[in-house]
């Protein structure tokens, strides 16, 4: 599909407008940008506080976006990692428990190591056993949630070194807190990896046509392992950041993050079937959702209403996916064709 579009548009790619058209046709962020503009203008009119208190907004965007960035790496390959929500909870619990006994650096390393193990298990089931990633990671989501509860004894684990936790929540460079800096660092790292590094560029090939990628000599299985390690590792990082900022790890954390991060990635124009999408799109999606959430919170809207909004945005994003629209357009035109044919037949008779 991608190639066809590019070739078709590329045929009249002369002059500035032609080149612009080519450039736009290759991007997938259209819906993300549209939603961003709608939300941004709505927020500017009704809640300008969102921009004044940009620290809060950026913090919220980082919260949603961090997990979504990692998730995008897997989605580009046409797989899905539902277990990120539980990975976040498990790594938070592991980090605080280990940090309480030794120190925070070892705690963070332990959490990241655990996430690598989890990702390897996920990727093993998907790449080697050949399971559907939706179902395999769904089982892992459940099992890991249990693991977080077992490890924490079903209680939030308090971080004993509260000074570090409090310091972690303070602005580090200018007005930016470590969370926001980590978010942008991860964004740049994954963006460079996916668009400039050979292994990362091959993610898109694996997602677009797995057989072709295999035939072209791309180590498909190894790429799937890399993708899951990225998504699991970033989720663990998010868990660590959350636990440090709150100076406690909640074993039931992550269920709302799951919805929001999926919404961010899908709004950003990443095809769930793989092969098309971008990290920038995810950033735009996360920014739109973050602004929406902060605006709703500032307006004093209840939590259930916020859930309805995020759920609605996700549903809308899935339904306005180009492939969804094509599918529904196809069935509508088939129906009309059928009606037309039967009318013609009646007229003949």
């Amino acid at each position: 599909m991608t190639n066809q579009t590019v070739i078709k548009v590329g045929a009249d790619a002369t002059g500035f407008w032609g080149k612009l058209k080519v450039a736009l046709a290759r991007r997938t962020e259209g819906r993300g940008v549209a939603l961003f503009i709608v939300i941004a203008s709505f927020v500017t009119v009704s809640q300008p506080l969102v921009f004044t208190a940009y620290q809060v907004t950026l913090g919220r965007i980082a919260l949603i976006g961090l997990v979504a960035l990692g998730l995008t790496a897997v989605i580009l390959m046409g797989e899905l990692d539902l277990s990120v929500a539980s990975t976040l909870a498990v790594s938070g619990v592991i980090m605080t428990t280990v940090a309480n006994q030794t120190n925070i650096a070892i705690g963070i390393l332990a959490a990241l190591a655990a996430s690598v193990v989890i990702s390897l298990v996920n990727a093993y089931f998907v790449a080697i056993v050949g399971l559907n990633s939706f179902i395999a990671t769904l089982g892992m989501l459940f099992a890991l949630r249990g693991l977080a509860l077992v490890l924490s004894d079903e209680q939030p684990v308090k971080l004993e070194n509260t000074d570090f936790g409090i310091a972690f929540g303070q602005p580090l460079v200018g007005p930016l807190t470590p969370r926001i800096l980590i978010f942008f660092a991860v964004f740049i790292a994954i963006q460079v990896f996916v668009s400039r590094v050979k292994a990362g560029r091959e993610f898109l090939a694996v997602g677009g046509n797995r057989q072709a990628a295999y035939d072209a000599g791309i180590p498909v299985k190894r790429r799937i392992f890399t993708g899951f390690i990225i998504s699991g590792g970033v989720a663990a990082l998010a868990g660590v950041v959350n636990s440090l900022e709150r100076t406690a790890a909640d074993p039931t954390a992550g269920s709302t993050v799951l919805l929001a991060s999926f919404a961010a990635a899908i709004i950003g124009g990443n095809y769930l079937k793989g092969g098309k999408g971008s990290i920038v799109g995810t950033l735009i999606g996360a920014a739109s959702l973050g602004m929406l959430q902060v605006a709703l919170t500032i307006s004093g809207v209840q939590v259930p209403v916020q859930e309805i909004f995020i759920g609605g945005v996700l549903l809308l994003a899935v339904l306005t996916d180009p492939s969804s629209l094509r599918a529904v357009w196809g069935s509508i035109s088939t129906t009309f064709q059928g009606i037309k044919n039967s009318l013609a037949k009646q007229a003949r008779d």
Binding site: G78, L80, L82, F125, V129, G130, L131, N132, F134, I135, A136, L138, G139, M140, L141, F142, A143, L144, R145, G146, L147, A148, L149, V150, L151, E154, R210, Q211, Y214, V220, P251, L258, L259, F262, A263, I266, L272, K273, G274, Q302, V303, P304, V305, Q306, E307, I308, I310, G311, G312, L314, L315, V318, L319, D321, S323, S324, L325, A327, V328, S331
Partner: protein, 337 residues
């Protein structure tokens, strides 16, 4: 669907053709197909022997009470799984909504109004999920994840997130505590739903289309079936079952709250897959799901009786899903050969 077959084709092409592998994998295929019978028998015998208080009448009644709502939900969800659309996560919201509506509306108005309102809500859920998945060809996991949040959010908003109680001597309370012989009414409902859904899936045109859609969506469409309607139908069956499951759950304790069905999505999926219905679609049956429900319910009952913590129970169910799906995938690969 094409992608899975492709990965599988790659795996098959790479697998060495030796007899040892074939022998062991045909065993896997047998386990995937018939294993549930053996495992359920072993589990029942083992728990009767080793777990104190398992075989008591009190515990068996309790088992029925717990198995009935989740079982009814799982029976309905079998239709969605057989169409190859993974699962319906929104049963959590649907069952809770049905329970809360049953008790709150019958308190405020009467039972008939409550049934009608719950029925309309179930139809709306089924239609939204079904149209999004059937006509928009959207991913069922993502669609039902979003409808879960929308549904639960609306439910919390309207009910204020608090628990609702029915009157002690009302018809709902009577239904929840009555028994037919040794079986509570909820178990009777479970059996009736099983019979109806078995008939629908194996004897009606619609059931045939559902199975055919799961085996091969394209050929079903080319044969002149309106595949979108089939998917909507499968989601509507799931919604109806989730509604009845929510009724039974609410009647059992005569209370309802918005988070009362938490975990039903996974437990129902576990029961369906363990029963031998394939997540790849096309293969499976309603009685198999009933067997899966028996297995999963006994397993969690034994875990509770042995005073295993909630966390370990979740680990057990999660691992069970992954294990059952693995066996299913390996068994299918052999079948392809």
């Amino acid at each position: 669907m094409a992608k899975e077959t492709l990965t599988e084709a790659i795996a098959v092409a790479k697998a060495p053709e030796d007899t040892v592998a074939k022998k062991s994998s045909s065993f896997v295929a047998w386990i995937a197909d018939k294993g549930i019978f053996v495992f359920t028998a072993i589990l029942i015998l083992a728990s009767m022997t080793f777990v104190d208080g398992f075989a008591s009448l009190q515990n068996v009644t309790d088992l029925f009470h717990r198995a009935a709502p989740i079982g009814i939900v799982a029976l309905g969800m079998t239709f969605v799984v057989i169409t190859g659309n993974y699962l319906d996560l929104s049963v959590v919201a649907q069952a809770a909504a049905a329970g809360v509506i049953l008790i709150a509306v019958s308190n405020a108005y009467n039972l008939i109004t409550a049934f009608i309102v719950a029925f309309i809500v179930a139809i709306i859920f089924g239609l939204v999920n079904g149209i999004a998945v059937g006509y928009f060809k959207a991913n069922a996991v993502i669609v039902t994840l979003s409808t879960t949040y929308i549904g639960l959010g609306l439910l919390r908003l309207l009910s204020g997130g608090s628990q609702v109680f029915g009157p002690f001597d009302g018809p709902i309370a009577t239904f929840g505590t009555s028994k037919l012989g040794p079986f509570p009414y909820s178990a009777v409902v479970l059996v009736v739903v099983t019979l109806i859904l078995t008939f629908v899936l194996s004897k009606t045109n619609f059931g045939f289309m559902v199975r055919s859609f799961g085996v091969n969506e394209r050929s079903t469409r080319l044969a002149g079936t309106n595949t979108g309607v089939i998917v909507i139908g499968a989601f509507l069956v799931t919604s109806m079952a989730a509604m009845i499951g929510g009724f039974v759950l609410a009647a059992f304790s005569n209370t309802a709250v918005s988070n009362m069905a938490t975990g039903y999505d996974f437990q129902a999926l576990a029961a369906i897959i363990v029963g031998g219905t394939s997540v790849f679609g096309g293969k499976g049956s309603v009685p198999r799901t009933l067997l899966g429900v028996v297995f999963v319910s006994i397993l969690s009952n034994v875990l509770v009786l042995s005073q295993i913590s909630y966390g370990w129970q979740q680990i057990a169910i999660g691992s069970l899903i992954v294990f059952a799906v693995t066996v299913d995938a390996l068994g299918r690969r052999v079948g392809k050969k």
